[in-house]
Every structure is written in C-alpha cells, then in structure tokens.
C-alpha cells in the first residue's frame, strides 16, 4: 500500500502524518508513507485544503485531521 500525506508543513499536516504512522505501526500494515510538501505536486490531486491523506493515489481525506479510528477504517478496507 502506498500512503501519501499532502501538506506544506503546517501543524495539522504533522499531526496527520504522526497519526497515520501510528495506525500503520500498531496494525502491522504493509505500507510506505511519503510526505509530499511540493505545492505543484499537491495541486495535482486537485485539493485546496491541506492536509490530505492519499492512499494508492486516491484522495481519502482532505482539509482535516481524522481520528485514528477513521484512518484505520480507511487503511483496512
């Protein structure tokens, strides 16, 4: 699984990255997590509010920090 966290370094973006890493670790999910900070790269996903959670190139969450439970539901589908 390929997970991307989109965000240019605001506090929320860091929180989302941290939460996602925790969920991945705790559930033994096989995934690579990349933080995307380049604005041109972020715009390709068509979002206007950061942070965003992208799983296998699909935008799942944007503009907010979801709870760990919600991330878990998204990752274990």
């Amino acid at each position: 699984m390929e997970i991307k966290i989109l965000g240019s370094g605001c506090a929320k973006c860091k929180t989302l990255e941290k939460l996602t890493r925790e969920v991945v670790d705790q559930n033994g999910i096989d995934a690579t997590i990349t933080k995307v900070e380049d604005i041109m790269e972020i715009m390709k996903y068509g979002i206007m509010s950061t942070p965003a959670l992208v799983v296998n190139e699909k935008v799942e969450i944007k503009g907010r920090v979801p709870s760990s439970d919600e991330i878990k539901k998204i990752l274990i589908k």
Partner: protein, 339 residues
C-alpha cells in the same frame, strides 16, 4: 444517528459550562476575598481579581463558540466556496467572497493551494483577494473576544467594517487588472480533478471536528489569552488613566496611520491582540485607532505576505498592503469621527 461518545460528552458538558459561566463573579470574589484574604481595593488585589475573572470567562466563551464554529465549518469547505464563486463577476463576487471568507475554514498555511485553486477555476483575481483579505482579518476568535470584552456593538462594528474593507479592496484590485503581477507559474499549474468533491460526513464526525477545533485553537491560543489578560490586569491596576491618550487619542490626528504602521510588522494571532486592545482603549486610546491597530496586526501580517510572495510578485504585495491599509485607515478615522 449513533449515540456514541461524540454526542454524550458535549451534551453532558453543556450544562456544566452554563453553571460555571454564570457563577464566575461570585467564584472570583470568593477566591480573591475569602480564600486569599487580600485587602479590598489594593492595586494587586484588583489586578488579580480582573485576571481570575476575565481569563476563565474568555476561555469558556472561546470553547463554546469554537465548538459550534468547528461544526458549522464542516459544511463550508474551500471546494464548495470555490464552486459558489465560479463565474461570479465584479461586485457580487466580491461581496460573496468576503462573506464566505469569514466562515470557510482557512489557515495561512493553506493560502497557496486555495489561491491556486481559485485562480485555476476562473475566479477573478479581485474576488480571490476579497476572500484572502476577509479570511484572516475577520477572525472568529477576535469576534468572541471583542464581544466578551466590549459587548456586541463593537463585535458587529468589527465584522461589518472588516467586510467592507475586504469587499472594496478586492473590488479595487480587480479594477486595476493586476494579473500581470501574479507569478507566471500560477497559470501553468495543472490542477488535478478531485474525486472527493463532496465528502459526506456523519453528524458524529462533524461533532468530532468541533471537538478537534477546540483542542487545536484553544490549545494554542490559551497562552496568548493568558498573556493578553495578564498585561490587561497589570495595566488595569497600575498604568495611569489616559496614559495612551497622548499617543492614540482622538485628538492626535496621526494616531490612525501610526497605529497601522506599527501594526503591520507586528504579528500576533487574534486572541493575543484583543486583550491588548482592551488595555489601549481603557487607557485613553480612541476606539477607531485601537480597532485600526488590531486590524493591521491580524489582517496584514508579515508571515502571510511571505507565504503569498510565492504566488504574487512584490508590486502586487505592496498594492495589497497599500489598499487594505488605506481601507483600515478610513475605518479608523470614521470611528474616531463618529464616536
């Protein structure tokens, strides 16, 4: 609708909030007079009383309003705002953009994707600016604090004048046709199609967003509120009345532009500045001058300019500061004249 913790906890806390909020004055007096047994009327006692009363009051107001604003904001995503503004021309667009700027979730860190997204979908530059001016300048935290400290009239004046400045400044920028001063790469950016246009959130999820908003905003601003009110409490007891009158009073004709010039490089969030404004007014600064100072501090901030510099060429940044600054100045003089 599931009855999970996201419903139950806020529902239980609401009456608790109500009881505490309406008993703050007796609780303060009990703490200051009975428990600490301080002499009535002393400078330190009064300063302490001011802090012990004002700090919880402002924090309680903040928590309640931020919670509801957090929920309401889940209905106003930047994507929906953009859709509403698409194809809107000149004045109507400016009015809508400024109004939506108040309620759409915005932080300066997402100013760039937002700007790109607006421009990309054909929202005119002037309309985009109305949004970018209103969003940081008319701040919900500032509204609450102004309401808490000065009453609803000042809060309404702040929102109203902020809106007028955002609408007119954006409109003027639109008339000037300054697209040439937008960095060329902005127009070359290819924006992808989002497949998540209308995210359906459950209501418990929206409540959770409200709780998150409290944690996030109150968690970061409490220290500024405490500092601001502590400064206020100190000045309340110690600084002589009319101390500021010589510098920021009504009779000083240059006080408005001077406050704006001082305010622009100063950076503070809205929570930190309102208590300072309260002190200025109490010590003889006129309402117009103090409001102009506040708007310059939160509406025209250096960090935001640095962020916007990525998409705007320097002349446009200066035009932006100039027009908004002029707007704030007019408001300042107007209020000094009226009140």
């Amino acid at each position: 609708m599931k009855w999970n913790k996201y419903f139950v906890i806020p529902l239980v806390l609401l009456p608790v909030w109500f009881v505490i909020y309406h008993n703050l004055q007796p609780m303060t007096d009990w703490l200051v007079d009975t428990q600490l047994a301080l002499t009535l009327g002393g400078h330190f006692t009064e300063a302490l009383r001011f802090f012990v009363f004002e700090f919880p009051k402002v924090m309680l107001l903040l928590m309640l309003i931020i919670f509801f604003v957090g929920i309401i904001r889940t209905y106003f995503t930047p994507e929906r705002t953009r859709k509403a503004l698409e194809g809107k021309r000149t004045f109507t667009g400016n009015v809508m953009a400024a109004t939506l700027g108040i309620i759409t979730p915005f932080c300066s860190c997402s100013a760039i994707p937002l700007f790109l997204g607006f421009v990309e979908s054909g929202v005119p530059l002037g309309v985009t600016f109305s949004f970018l001016i209103a969003a940081p300048m008319i701040n919900e935290v500032a509204i609450i604090l102004l309401y808490g400290m000065f009453g609803w009239k000042v809060a309404v004046i702040y929102v109203g004048t902020g809106l007028i400045i955002a609408i007119l400044a954006g409109w003027v920028i639109g008339l000037l046709k300054l697209e040439k001063w937008v960095e060329p790469w902005v127009y070359q950016t290819q924006m992808g199609e989002s497949d998540l246009e209308d995210e359906k959130l459950s209501f418990s999820n929206r409540i959770n967003q409200g709780v998150q908003a409290i944690k996030e905003i109150v968690g970061t601003v409490w220290i500024y509120v405490a500092l601001g009110i502590a400064v206020g409490a100190g000045a309340h007891g110690y600084v002589p009345e009319d101390f500021m009158a010589a510098l920021m009073g009504k009779s000083v004709w240059y006080s408005v532009p001077l406050s704006i010039l001082i305010g622009i490089p100063l950076y503070s969030n809205a929570a930190g500045i309102v208590p300072v404004v309260a002190v200025l007014i109490e010590k003889g600064a006129s309402l117009g001058t103090a409001l102009a100072f506040m708007m310059a501090v939160i509406g025209l901030s250096l960090p935001e300019m640095v962020i916007l510099r990525k998409v705007l060429k320097l002349p446009l940044i200066f035009v932006f500061i100039g027009i908004v600054g002029a707007g704030i100045m007019i408001v300042g003089y107007l209020f000094n004249y009226i009140f």
